[in-house]
């Protein structure tokens, strides 16, 4: 019971944060759990304390092999930097958004995106970020960022993005 009310509170807080943030990214225009980051992130990419630095200089996105949720060495390198930044900036929480490419059925891809997001979350936890600051969500194949239908786009879409949220323990 306690856990349930925590989730409800979290979602309410999230909605408020998203509404207050005109630069939010990752919504896909369709009411997802948003977060700041990406090209629209706040601050300057050269300011090491800004979300823009986290998103653009460190990199807020990691990519996966077809059908896999294991982290490649490249992904681990990025996540190690993400973890260090999150440890140094305890006023931020994050939602890890898992995605799949279009080469899969809808429900399986939702489950696969969740696996990917969880694998990122566990890596961040193993590198010192408190699990209470991390939440995951899967969008399955619903929000592609690269639109062609060959591997050059599929590999960009098989991703997990760490979207920052300002304030509030999860």
């Amino acid at each position: 019971m306690q856990k349930i009310s925590t989730i409800v509170l979290f979602v309410a807080a999230l909605a408020t944060a998203a509404c207050n943030n005109p630069n939010r990214n990752g919504m896909g225009g369709a009411g997802g759990a948003g977060g700041m980051g990406g090209a629209g992130a706040i601050g300057s990419a050269s300011d090491p304390n800004s979300p823009a630095y986290f998103a653009q200089t460190l990199g807020d996105m990691v990519h996966f092999v077809v059908d896999q949720s294991t982290l490649t060495p490249e992904a681990q390198a990025i996540l190690t930097k993400q973890a260090a930044w999150l440890v140094q900036h305890p006023n931020y929480t994050a939602i890890v958004q898992g995605h799949a490419d279009e080469q899969g059925t809808r429900e399986y891809n939702l489950a696969l995106g969740a696996r990917r997001a969880e694998s990122v979350k566990q890596f961040l936890i193993a590198n010192g970020v408190s699990g209470t600051r991390l939440k995951t969500i899967s969008y399955g194949k619903e929000q592609p960022i690269a639109l062609c239908s060959d591997e050059s786009c599929f590999q960009q879409n098989r991703r997990a993005k760490t979207a920052l949220q300002l304030g509030g323990g999860v």
Binding site: K3, E102, Y108
Partner: protein, 441 residues
């Protein structure tokens, strides 16, 4: 007016027979076609425009009856220009010789009487080469606004009498209506007649909605919505259009819901800490039961029509395959055996087949197999076909076909279980995730 949320009951009456012009010829078997036959030639039929007494829907009703029958791929209309006989009196004897001369195997005649907002549609079906009616004439009465449904009822009678199958034209489909570019797709739930007519929207496009499923009575639908920001199952009552979130569970995401045949239980997937398993929930008590327990992805559960078993997909073997387990849960027995991946199993309402999505060699297929996995038959193939749903008679399947590329979009398609009559279902914009409801009353 037609109320999209509450289909009314149409009144059906048998008509008295009419005298035959000549004595019925002796014929060993009545007019009958078996749709399982793959090399079947469409049956030629004649359907002169129904006679009209008041109103202006007789032509439109005739057109819908013809479109229903031709859409099955089992029937071919003979062009009206070839007709020798004219039908000017619904109760006059039929000039069989004139219809035999143009090789019409079946003749359909009809009469539409409209009085204000009520119509009555009568039809008769004749086995031309037997010189005899095929079954009694029938009359359907209803609101004029329901004229399309009445036309479907007429076509259903004709289809059922000639094929021996149960009817399915007077039915509806819930689906996801899509708009916007591929990287900012808007999705909303919609409902339509099986042929794409009478579309109504059930949600707005403010949050992603996925994969609606009908209850077997057609009164409720389950779907997955991102309304709270996170994927959650909702149940909508069609009569009111109101929906509710199903009880919150400890976990991140609930999805892939499906009603049990009695409508009392929902089987669904729950994701916890990245792992997806199948659970069931009693709608009355909210009591939840875990049906699978594995570190692999278990999803897309579908009940057998007697409610005793559940087909589902799992990637426990390394890739997606189809399994069947008791409705109370368990390990399950794998039934899919061919190359590639098998997913989205859906048990036929007749219980004889399981429809599925298959991926192999970079292509997607819709297919059917027996419930033990034997007699696998692929019906379609494209860049991306997925998510089959059964017509209420278990003889036709609708699914999503998505075209590739940046401008790619989803469309609904229909095909029968022999792979015949593959055709797009007309929708105004892009559409996906169809769920076929029951035959209407």
């Amino acid at each position: 007016m037609t109320d999209i949320l509450r289909p009314s009951r149409l009144l059906a009456l048998a008509l008295a027979g009419i005298a035959a012009l000549s004595a019925p010829a002796l014929r060993a078997e009545p007019l009958r076609m078996t749709i399982d036959q793959p090399d079947l030639q469409p049956l030629p039929f004649a359907a002169p425009t129904f006679l009209s007494q008041g109103g202006d829907v007789a032509q439109a009703i005739t057109d819908v009856v013809i479109a229903d029958l031709q859409g099955t791929g089992l029937f071919a209309q003979i062009a009206p220009a070839a007709y020798i006989s004219r039908v000017s009196d619904f109760d006059a004897p039929v000039a069989y010789a004139d219809w035999k001369a143009i090789n019409a195997q079946a003749l359909i005649t009809g009469r539409v009487i409209q009085q204000g907002d009520q119509i009555s549609v009568a039809f008769r079906l004749f086995d031309v080469f037997a010189d005899a009616p095929l079954g009694d004439g029938m009359q359907f009465k209803g609101a004029t606004g329901d004229w399309r449904r009445i036309a479907h009822k007429v076509a259903d009678q004709i289809y059922a009498r000639i094929t021996g199958e149960k009817p399915y034209f007077d039915s509806r489909v819930v689906f996801v209506s899509e708009s916007g570019p591929k990287d900012a797709r808007k999705k909303q739930l919609a409902i339509m007649d099986y042929d794409g007519a009478n579309v109504g929207f059930l949600t707005d496009a403010s949050s992603i909605v996925l994969a609606p499923r009908f209850s077997s009575k057609g009164d409720r639908i389950l779907y997955t919505s991102f309304e709270t920001g996170f994927p959650r199952i909702r149940e909508m009552t069609l009569a009111t259009g109101k929906s509710r979130a199903l009880a919150d569970l400890e976990g991140n995401m609930t999805f892939a819901p499906r009603f049990s045949p009695d409508g009392d239980t929902v089987a669904f997937s729950l994701e916890q800490n990245g792992n997806t398993d199948i659970f069931s929930m009693s709608l009355a008590s909210g009591q939840v039961r875990q049906l699978t327990n594995a570190p692999s992805i278990e999803t897309s559960p579908s009940f057998s029509p007697d409610g005793s078993q559940i087909a589902f997909e799992s990637d426990r073997s390394g890739g997606q395959q189809i399994y069947v387990m008791p409705a109370s849960g368990g390990e399950g027995t794998r039934i899919s055996a061919g190359d590639g991946r098998y997913s989205t199993p859906v048990w036929s309402p007749r219980g004889d087949y399981i429809a599925f999505t298959k991926q192999n060699g970079g292509r997607f297929y819709i297919g059917v197999m027996r419930t033990d996995g034997s007699e696998e038959r692929l019906l379609t193939s494209s860049y991306l076909d997925e998510g089959p749903t059964w017509a209420p008679n278990g003889r036709v399947i609708m699914f999503t076909r998505e075209s590739p590329g940046a401008t790619g979009s989803a469309q609904l398609f229909s095909v029968d279980i022999s792979g015949r009559a593959l055709h797009p279902v007309p929708t105004q914009g892009a559409a996906s995730d169809p769920a076929w409801g029951p035959l209407l009353p």
